[in-house]
Symmetry: C2
Subunit: 150 residues, 2 copies
């Protein structure tokens, strides 16, 4: 964990990092998203230390991003995305697009995504929620909002 508390900054990026910015957190979410929901599965798949995995899972549950759910009468638990957590998958999809484009190299993307609506292999793209046109870094002007710092 970073020592500096990002959560207290007047910046939604910093606050988001406070929730999932620690090492491993996005990869844990990815695994839970694709159906690896149990402690030992996650630990083996990621190669993460059990100690750190415990810390991350409890933190993500505290933040309301994951839900800890028993699946047996024995003390056995699965982790699932909450609505809040499911919306973080948008972030993972954009990371995937960028990594596929800039880091995949000769071999090509390690994973492809088929879109249910059209049935095609595709990837996510950013568009303006208002007009539907593409919306990237150079297409916007930042303005102070209601929650701006003094």
């Amino acid at each position: 964990m970073q020592r500096t508390k990002f959560g207290e900054m007047a910046c939604s990026i910093a606050r988001t990092l406070d929730v999932i910015g620690e090492p491993w957190s996005p990869l844990i979410l990815r695994d839970v998203w694709v159906g690896m929901t149990r402690f030992d599965q996650l630990q083996a798949d990621l190669g993460i230390s059990r100690k750190v995995l415990t810390e991350r899972l409890t933190y993500l549950v505290d933040q309301g991003v994951l839900e800890r759910r028993p699946y047996d009468r024995r003390p056995r638990y699965e982790y699932h995305l909450t609505t809040k957590g499911a919306e973080l998958v948008d972030l993972l999809m954009v990371m995937t697009s960028w990594g596929d484009r800039w880091l995949a190299g000769e071999a090509g993307p390690p994973v492809l995504y088929r879109h249910h609506a059209c049935g095609e292999i595709s990837h996510a793209e950013l568009r303006c929620a208002h007009c539907g046109e593409p919306m990237h870094g150079g297409d916007v002007d930042p303005l102070p909002g209601p929650g701006a710092a003094v």
Copy 2:
């Protein structure tokens, strides 16, 4: 920096984290994006240690995400986004959307974005690059791609 090398995993999310997953890196990119391009500006705005800022900047330059550019005959430098870095701003915009939605609280978003194309305050949304329909975590099936691990 995390001890485990994410860059060697067969996963575009892990590889992307290897580039910008360290603490502060996304916030550095945000500042450079909005025009804070000099060492002391960044240090003062973020409250980051000078040592760590130096490390992050050289790493981001090495990764081809930032460019170090002299702006004086004295040894003075500005950092700018490369094309590769500018495309990472997509990620920042999605983080902003999520943070605005889930973490802004009563006060509302600290920053608003006006979209050049339509002139409205808006935010980014994910759509399928192929059919243009919305594309979120639940709308896709992952399949092994050409660069999949053995």
